[in-house]
């Protein structure tokens, strides 16, 4: 592992490396950065003989927007819309990570109703993020129909969240100290109606694709990740739970009002293949949607009746320089962590966002040896990587 790698770089003048690969009879191909899938702009340098890959080296950075540097320039409040863009498919979680980190810096508690609003918004977002993930994964395997079905269900959630905060994708709903808007009147009924409809759709989805014979043949035994390897590469979220390790930040390091709810954590069992293979990762996400429905029903039932949605936050948030705080939340893609060091004025001195997709990219090179190219597509889809999380 300590041998220096021969990776062709941007400097394609260096044809020696290419020549050596070509002599061995292999092709060096670029898969990307434009993919016919929604994983985003990521490039893969694939060394292959046409069928089986020798290596697949991911190249990222096409979507790098220097969000961490912007964090050093914005006020704490003003940075919230930027956190939406850290993971625009599961934007509520990115909002929550930032809000929790800054609230820890301030040392403040937020009202219970605000916490419940956060949980409702986040769990709805978890369902819609997983819908995209499983839909695109089915599409990458070749079954095109589950993707519009997933999007159709996601439209209901988009409508719900649009009614809540005015946006369909980048919500900017949470604030330092609470949430921006209270639940509209009649919202509980709308969400309940949606949940009643959605749970039946999940069963239909399972019948259509999850237990489909060809789907299983494509995904079972594909890139099984042993739990120890997953921990070493710091895989998080459904990727880690599929390997058999039952770790969910909502249960292990409870935050917000999650201790109030009863829900299960789906863990991969190798039901149709090896434990930790691509099918398990897919199945974990489908089951997590079901658990999110459970949490939502309980949250709606236990919603506090008052109307306080913002805590007492100073108008200008100034924190002594050098104060640092770390927040961990269970985002749709796993354990999202914010490391914030306060700066002298109204902004942070350093913001580091550690996302699940970034470390998941690191494992692709190791897993791709000996896979076929069709499997690489399935592997990337099963890890549910999104480019904005990787590149920030």
């Amino acid at each position: 592992m300590s041998k220096p790698l021969e990776v062709p770089t941007m400097d394609m003048e260096n044809k020696e490396v290419l020549r050596r690969i070509e002599i061995s009879g292999d092709m060096l191909l670029n898969m990307g950065p434009q993919h016919p899938s929604t994983h985003g702009v990521i490039n893969f340098l694939v060394q292959t003989d046409g069928e089986v890959m020798k290596r697949a080296i991911p190249e990222v950075g096409y979507l790098h927007r220097s969000l961490e540097k912007i964090g050093e320039r914005c006020t704490y409040n003003g940075y919230m819309p930027y956190t939406d863009r850290v993971d625009y498919i599961a934007a509520m979680f990115a909002n929550q990570g930032w809000a929790m980190a800054v609230e820890r810096l301030l040392g403040m508690q937020i009202p219970r109703r605000a916490e419940y609003c956060r949980v409702i918004a986040c769990e709805l977002n978890r369902i819609s993020s997983h819908l995209i993930s499983v839909g695109t994964m089915a599409m990458d395997i070749g079954a095109v129909t589950p993707f519009p079905y997933a999007l159709r269900e996601r439209e209901f959630i988009n409508d719900l969240l649009e009614e809540l905060c005015g946006a369909r994708l980048t919500y900017n709903y949470l604030r330092i100290g609470g949430v921006a808007f209270d639940l509209p009147s009649g919202y509980e009924d709308k969400v309940s109606t949606f949940l009643d409809h959605f749970e039946k759709i999940l069963d239909e989805f399972n019948r259509l694709i999850t237990y489909n014979e060809i789907f299983i043949k494509r995904l079972a035994h594909l890139a099984p990740i042993p739990a120890q390897m997953a921990i070493d590469y710091c895989l998080v979220g459904p990727n880690l739970r599929a390997c058999g390790l039952s770790f969910d930040v909502r249960k292990a390091l409870p935050y917000s009002v999650y201790p109030d709810f009863q829900f299960d954590v789906p863990v991969g069992k190798g039901e149709v293949g090896t434990m930790g293979d691509a099918w398990d990762r897919f199945w974990c996400r489908v089951e997590e949607m079901r658990q999110s429905c459970r949490i939502l029903r309980q949250a709606l039932a236990q919603l506090p009746k008052d109307s306080q949605i913002m805590g007492k936050v100073p108008r200008k948030i100034k924190i002594p320089e050098g104060t640092e705080a770390y927040s961990r939340i269970e985002s749709a893609r796993g354990d999202m962590q914010y490391y914030v060091v306060a700066g002298p004025g109204e902004n942070a001195h350093r913001v580091k966002i550690r996302t699940g997709s970034f470390t998941a990219m690191g494992i692709i090179d190791a897993l791709s040896r000996g896979l076929m190219i069709a499997d690489l597509v399935a592997l990337i889809a099963s890890l549910d990587v999104v480019a904005p999380e990787i590149d920030r």
Binding site: M1, S2, K3, P4, L5, V7, T9, M10, D11, V60, G61, H64, S66, E68, K69, R104, L105, G107, Q228, M229, I231, D232, Y233, C234, L245, F247, A252, L253, P320, G322, T323, E324, A325, Y326, D335, Q337, Y339, V341, H349, R350, K352, R354, F358, T359, M361, G362, I363, A366, D391
Partner: protein, 189 residues
Amino acid sequence: MTFEEIQQRLAGKFGERIGALSPANKDPFLVVQAADIVEICRYAKEDEALAFDCLMNLSTIDWPKRNQIEVVYHLWSYRRRHAFVLKVQLDRAKPEIASIESLWKSADWLEREQYDLMGVQFTGHPDLRRIMMPDDWVGNPLRKDYAEQAQWHNITTTRDNSLEGYVRLDELKKKAAEAAAASKKELPQ
């Protein structure tokens, strides 16, 4: 184990080389020397009581006033369910530290990111090259004194403020209208 207990266990093994835990300024941390980092991390990983099997975050912070770059290691143990924070303070002019990629594979990409964005050299890393920025980029963007290069492969890195652009267009239109009015005044002769 709490932060204090972990610090005591490390001090028990490494004695003088482990200082005191910083006061809890919301989150405490432990500062160690750059030369010791691999040893300390290896002990943290292999010791049964500590069992830090996961490097969950690796960041760098630029402190130009102190002339330091801090490398921050956030360790996590799935077996014991405890976390710890190690910090190493490097000289800002020549920030070098040994790579811990041999201990935790997640350090591979995390260290590459900090090499790219902050310019910290991780000696012993198997593949230290840029990850976010293009390979031929000059400079380390996250540094406080970073000045962006004016162009990259003939693409400028600045863009006119579009509001100024509109003002310019308005001026042009006004001048054109004045010229037209002036020429019209001269016509009927």
